[in-house]
Symmetry: C2
Subunit: 279 residues, 2 copies
């Protein structure tokens, strides 16, 4: 039986509608400032998608482009931290070489860290506190929950240990009683590990890396990869070889991608509400 | 061939001597304040051991016992945060029921968090920043490094997802390129997972839980358990059934325990040095 395709766009729209309705009902306008440094074309595309989607549901989005220099970025962050009209601050990663990401991200006011990548917000996950969860990781959790995938006691394997997905997702899955294995480029005998997984999340940025012979029958596959191959977007999973073996797959595009933006909107609204809780 | 016993006390003494020599040479006296709430007998023992060991190497240790009430604890923390003569603040866990540990720990000035349990310091580990690592987890890393155990590419299984060991250790092992699986009470088929592990760390607080039939030949076993059984201290590993199958084991007592205190001393000195870096 062919795997069911998970419609990430549909799930994302559900959350976006929730945020839009809240904004409309309460007559508010939460505001995000995106800091874009450098000329990475993919970053430009993502910033663009986030802006369009957020604006459509009533979130104001400003894009700032400071010069490529640590002090200028930190000065801008300081200014935005102190500006009470700004509810969320987002630094688009990756930063150009030579600028340490932790140094920059950790200077954002953690209550405005709508990307959920501030070390404080990453650390909170380990305490089971998901008040500002990393967007993509949170989006994956929401997909799994919406599809009623059992997490408690499941063997989950994550490929890729980045700060956007692997690291925060591992905490969120442990919070939901999954048994989690984090694999990466130095992992030996990867197939032996993935073949025992009930759920596999692939976030390594290598087109078609996970193939049908690496998975067990009926597994749930979440594809976080976005790779441009001959002008086409391809995931990290080799769709053709897994489609008759897996039970569920997120497609690329239309799977995890839309969820990231929806969770950004959700985090922004949460940040706004918390910042105004004493009004 | 019987497993080699790792002498945690000997490794710990090496680090304690390093800290003592630095303190002596520089004529300084770093100071820790321990906050002890409630009447847990094990907590009293740990606080006592930490105090004696630290004092012996020239660290001043004060123990404060606020009333069992969140506001009183937070007031005390605030006072200690503002007291520049205090370099380290340590809240002995567990706290009595009804007092949320994250709420308390996250109010310690993170630069004085010598236990390494502040969400900010837990989150930093995910960025590869181990400037204030959780003491017990760090102690385990130091044991493995001192015994020249290869971590890169190794399959490491952690049993137990507590904030002292499982969660921070997971990040530190991933930082060293190990493939890490975190298991806990909801894990299914635990034996199938532990049998594939090169290294197993057990931190669940159940005497003799890990038995010889659950491990593979030659594995490295780290026992974090301290259980009182008929007046004797016992670890989480069933020593008799693993001793001829494992290659290395940390004994209880005398394995991980002394390392926790040594890493506390090391963190305290690091905190002191950073706090005085502009003198």
């Amino acid at each position: 039986m062919p795997a069911k395709l998970i419609d990430g766009k549909k799930i994302a729209d559900m959350y976006l509608t929730e945020v839009r309705d809240y904004i409309k009902t309460h007559g508010i306008m939460p505001k995000i400032v995106t800091i874009l440094v450098g000329d990475d074309p993919a970053s430009h595309t993502y910033v663009d998608i986030k802006q369009k989607t957020c604006q459509k549901i009533g979130i104001d989005v400003e894009i700032h482009r400071p010069v490529q220099d640590k002090d200028s970025i930190l000065q801008l962050i300081q200014k935005l931290n102190n500006d009470s009209s700004v509810n969320g601050i987002l630094v688009q990663l990756p930063l150009p070489p030579g600028i340490n990401e932790e140094d920059i991200i950790s200077r954002i006011d953690e209550s405005k860290d709508v990307d959920g990548l501030h070390p404080m917000n990453i650390g909170r996950l380990a305490y089971g506190d998901e008040s500002m969860p990393a967007c993509t990781a949170f989006g994956i959790i929401k997909i799994l929950e919406n599809e009623n995938i059992e997490l408690e006691g499941s063997n989950v394997v994550i490929l890729g240990r980045g700060i956007h997905v692997g690291k925060p997702l591992y905490s969120m899955l442990v919070n939901r009683n999954a048994t989690v294995t984090l694999c990466h480029s130095k992992t030996r005998n990867l197939s032996a590990i993935t073949k025992n997984a009930d759920i596999i999340i692939v976030a390594i940025g290598k087109s078609g890396y996970l193939t049908g012979d690496m998975i067990k029958e009926g597994s749930v596959l979440i594809d976080v990869g976005i790779n441009k191959v001959n002008g086409e977007l391809k995931g990290d999973i080799d769709f053709d070889s897994v489609k008759n073996k897996a039970s569920l797959i997120t497609p690329v595009p239309g799977g995890v991608g839309p969820m990231t933006v929806a969770m950004l909107a959700k985090n922004t609204l949460s940040a706004y509400i918390r910042q105004h809780s004493n009004d």
